[in-house]
């Protein structure tokens, strides 16, 4: 199943280093994330995987004192090159966070449409189909189609997280970053989101941080293992899980540390 389109690299880091003030949190990570595949980032807490994913949409630098060096190529173009505008970059890379974070003062509809609404798109005839499409993609449409005017915060935790996925998808980004998207959810909501991701990656390139090894094994195509700010190894998920090159990877995925 390796045609050219499937093997194309969508987003790639080259020697990525990230800092918090003078502390270096990532020590030169180079990783390719192929198009329309789900890349899982695993590793113990504090290993830098969240920092890594936050460098991919230049959100890391929003923390006072934080910065990143090295290159991040999105479809071959370095998003850290001088003159590159993070606001424009972020419109091509959606993000879903650990805790569901719908905007509190907005309805379900406004939440999904927020990326467009706040960029000045007001026309209902443009927004309505996008809202429906995004909610369907996030497998939430049937549950909320009759209550689009209700506040987004009225939904359950799992629904809120799918609402956040719909919000990210509404601006139609080719890449979706997910920072432990199910760690605050119950097993049933988690299963729904996993199903959803398997479906989504047919159209979107997904990069996901997870603490849940089974989750990585179940739904990811490729896995990268991080430890203390370094990427220890990466490769197809079945290889990393069954036949890891590095002893530390094996120890981690078999639960001997971390």
């Amino acid at each position: 199943m390796s045609t050219d389109a499937q093997n194309r690299v969508e987003i790639e880091t080259v020697g990525l280093r990230a800092y918090f003030g003078n502390v270096r949190a990532l020590h030169g990570v180079s990783l390719e994330m192929p198009r329309h595949q789900l890349t899982a980032l695993i590793g113990p807490s504090g290993c830098g995987k969240s920092t890594f994913i936050r460098c991919l949409n230049r959100l890391h630098e929003e923390i006072p004192g934080a910065r990143a060096e090295g290159r991040v190529l999105l479809e071959g173009q370095d998003i850290y090159r001088p003159g590159s505008d993070p606001v424009i970059i972020r419109r091509r890379i959606g993000m879903v966070f650990q805790r569901p974070n719908p905007f509190p003062a907005m309805s379900i509809y406004e939440n999904v449409a927020s990326g467009l609404l706040l960029a000045g798109v007001r026309s209902r005839s443009v927004l309505d189909p996008i809202v429906e499409r995004s909610l369907r993609q996030a497998a939430l449409w049937d549950e909320v189609k009759d209550q689009l005017r209700k506040p987004g915060t009225r939904l359950s935790g799992g629904q809120q997280q799918r609402l956040c996925i719909a919000r990210a998808l509404a601006i139609d980004p080719p890449v979706l970053l997910m920072d432990e998207p199910t760690s605050a959810l119950d097993p049933i909501s988690t299963a729904r989101i996993e199903e959803l991701l398997v479906e989504l990656k047919k159209a979107v390139t997904v990069v996901m941080v997870t603490h849940n090894m089974q989750q990585a094994a179940r739904i990811s195509d490729r896995t990268a293992f991080f430890l203390m700010g370094e990427m220890v190894e990466s490769g197809p998920t079945d290889v990393v899980f069954t036949n890891p090159r590095d002893q530390k990877t094996e120890q981690y995925i078999t639960g001997r540390f971390g």
Binding site: N57, L59, E62, P64, V87, I88, I89, R90, R91, R92, I93, G94, M95, F97, R99, N101, F103, P104, A105, M106, S114, G115, L118, A119, P151, T153, R154, C164, R167, A168, I171, L177
Partner: protein, 287 residues
Amino acid sequence: MKTSRAFDLWRKAKSRVAISLLLLGCGLAVLPLFAILLHLVREGASSIDWNFFTQVQKPVGELGGGMAHAIVGTIAQVGLASLVGIPLGLACGIYLSEYGGRERLAGPVRFALELLASTPSILVGVFIYGAIVVPMKKFSLFSGSLALMLILLPLVARTSEELLRLIPQHLREAGLALGLPRWKVILSVVVRSAWPGVWAAILLGIARIAGETAPLVLTSFGNPSFARGLDQPSASLPLQIYTYSISPFEEWHRMAWAGALVLVLTVLILNAITRLTGGSNEHRRAE
């Protein structure tokens, strides 16, 4: 285990005594409000008539007269102060909350606002007297508005900063991750989420300056009739109440009571609006 019946009764008795004491405390705290209201209604209600709202102060000896000039004066001064003080205060609050972490200017600005907020209001009046009234060589509605504005600004700035800081960081990140520019995230996500509280703070600030007397004594001074311009002395409700109440005339005393009643009702209504409009923080609770 010490769970005898006697012990349970003793424990419940203590609980009742404690709750009664708390209730008593609340009652004592609220009592003065009702006493004041009752007294004002009894003394003032009968003097509130059409003339009260349409007439100005009459010369001594003439019957009648009203507080129209004072009501208009208060509306003008509070309005002018709000027009400038609220946007400036909000700007300060937003700056301190959203950029205060990275900017070196934030510390001194915050400190200055705190000092300004704790300055006794008569001193604000004295300052404006020296800075504006003396050089202009006249008391004026403008200088009174300026004094009220200086009281309103730090109130709005400090409370709005506090309220904006309560909005969790991950909401800002959610907005930025959507590719929205920072100013848009601040206005449409952060300020909008905090708005019920900020709105309440603004209304409470307006209620506060509507009742201020001290800063006006040396600035807008008072006027028995309408101010004919921003550079003219102006009446205001609190000042006019003072003028009427220290006079020796029975007629004026009645007017002072009526004015006090109107002022207190206005402030109460503002507070009630705050409760009704800002009270529904269903949005904010869910974080």
